[in-house]
Amino acid sequence: MYAYDEIDRTLVNERVSEFRDQVKRRLSGELTEDEFKILRLQNGVYLQLHAYMFRVAIPYGTLATNQLRALAHVARKYDRGYGHFTTRQNIQFNWIKLAELPDALEDLAKVGIHAMQTSGNNMRNVTSDQWAGVAPGEIEDPRIWSELIRQHTTLHPEFSFLPRKFKIAITASDHDRAAIKVHDIGLRLIKNEKGETGFEVLVGGGLGRTPFIAKTIRHFVHGGDILSYIEAILRVYNQYGRRDNIYKARIKILVHELGIEKFSREVEEEWQHIRNSSLQIDDEVIEDIRSRFTYPAYEKLPYMPDELRQAAADPDFEAWRKNSVAPHKVQGYSIVTISLKPTGGPPGDATAEQMDALADLADRYSFGEIRVGHEQNLALPHVAKRDLPALWKALDKLGLATPNVNLITDIIACPGLDYCSLANARSIPIAQELTRRFANHELANLIGRLHINISGCINACGHHHVGHIGILGVEKNGEEVYQITIGGRADENAALGTLIGPGVKFDEVADVVEDIVEAYLALRERPEELFMDTVKRLGVEPFKERVYATR
């Protein structure tokens, strides 16, 4: 956990007071909506179909139990009893009243939570690997650097009115769980040949209507230089990024149009001006941030405790353990992913009761810490293996032990037309139907790792471009139509999916996915060949033939 200092607390509290005054002036008519809109957006307040939507930041996906309880409190007191975890380590409340928002913000501020820069054309929540600090083989905890960047970019006057929103993600593991290649800036923490910590810097990734995989702009930037290098990128973007066309305003378009070489030269030139400035970060600064992260006092525990050995005889426990439990860097401990993808449920939703109960479990079993991942699941990062059977039973009672992590029903989906004012088609009901079609866990395990991502419009909040199977809802002649892609992925080998053919109707989508899965099961050379490997080996044609042969 990270402990905020007095500056952070003052900033957050002052922001609440400021927004309270802005809301008061808006409701009195002193501020018009045009004047107020940019102010509310800078505090995470959107207008959606049914109500205002309130997006709250969970920096680098780390929550303390008192913070999770505060989110439950907001869900219960100011909303309709649930929240929706997003693909960028935020939580959204869908039914909030503008008049009550300052009170909700004030309640969150008491535990150091805020909504600053969760919308608007500024630097958004800096995200990271939800297994940061506990993943085996990690270079070092990437949250230290996420926090550094968060501090530097929060309310940064030069970058509060960028051409468009700007997102940074950081990973420190070989396996990228932070989807850095589809971010405006992706940072991969590495060590150089001297053993110094630094970053491979990628730029220009993004999805939306014009998707791009990020390109490496520099293979190594020393950790002490990372702020100046990011600032150089932002300055080039701020200067040359298009403000005349919202659809061409993201940095990915600038990088694409200039070309990575020219863009890189512009950044290098700018960097030389600011590199040896106050932006250079001393080791002391990093160590100060590092010291504010507290790590559990782990016990010395056996690799295979008796409790785990005995529980292995229960097939239901084993089914959950195999998919939900990952190795921890400390012997005797595990990382437990909490699936927010129950059969028939909206992906990423959690009720206030679940949040409160999970906070209790985190206090009992995970040193009071919860993580939020971009796959719209939660995680308990420090669970002793001996506690896994008891934790599983408790999670099961809460409806939080669906054994489907990384399987076909572990679906990423945007809110879609059920909530979103931008959407053209529904996403959640498609996900719900798919979780029912593939509810048989034996079948899901037989299929193996397969990610389905669903977006309800071209803005791609459900990251459909990088789903192993991607589903994009569009509108055609007043009807919902869904385009299907396959072969996308969001990890270290990130790739964009390929469209397999004409769009299909709402009630055909689950059938099409079944066809694709059946084709895969028939085509794979051996059970260990994952869906993505089969697609890579054979291309999309066999799947296309299977889907459209009878349509």
């Binding site: 309709r80 059920d418 053209n424 959640i428």
Partner: protein, 105 residues
């Protein structure tokens, strides 16, 4: 179903209304013939051509304190005068989410 945020110009293909979200709490409201807002679609003022639509929209936009984001939306008017939403988007705005969970207070 195209998002009204992408509406470029006002085209009326049939009976239409002006809808928005109430400022203080965000709920869906409809512009009435009495120059106010109602959460009840049956009280919405119906317009049937572009000029009427423009006038109703202009009046709605002017009421900036009452509601935000007004736009023109299609409706169907039955023989009995009953007003129904003209597309899925407006149907969802009227009756709530279609996901069968936590949809309504």
């Amino acid at each position: 179903m195209t998002s009204p945020l992408e509406q470029k110009k006002i085209k009326i293909a049939g009976p239409s209304i002006v809808t928005a979200n109430r400022t203080w709490d965000g709920i869906v409201v409809y512009r009435t013939a009495a120059r106010s807002w109602s959460a009840d679609l049956s009280e919405a003022a119906i317009v049937r051509n572009s000029d009427e639509a423009k006038a109703l929209l202009a009046e709605s936009v002017a009421d900036d304190v009452g509601a935000i984001g007004p736009y023109i939306a299609p409706v169907q008017v039955g023989a009995d005068g009953k007003i129904e939403p003209g597309n899925l988007r407006e149907q969802i705005r009227r009756t709530g989410v279609t996901i069968g969970q936590s949809a309504q207070a």
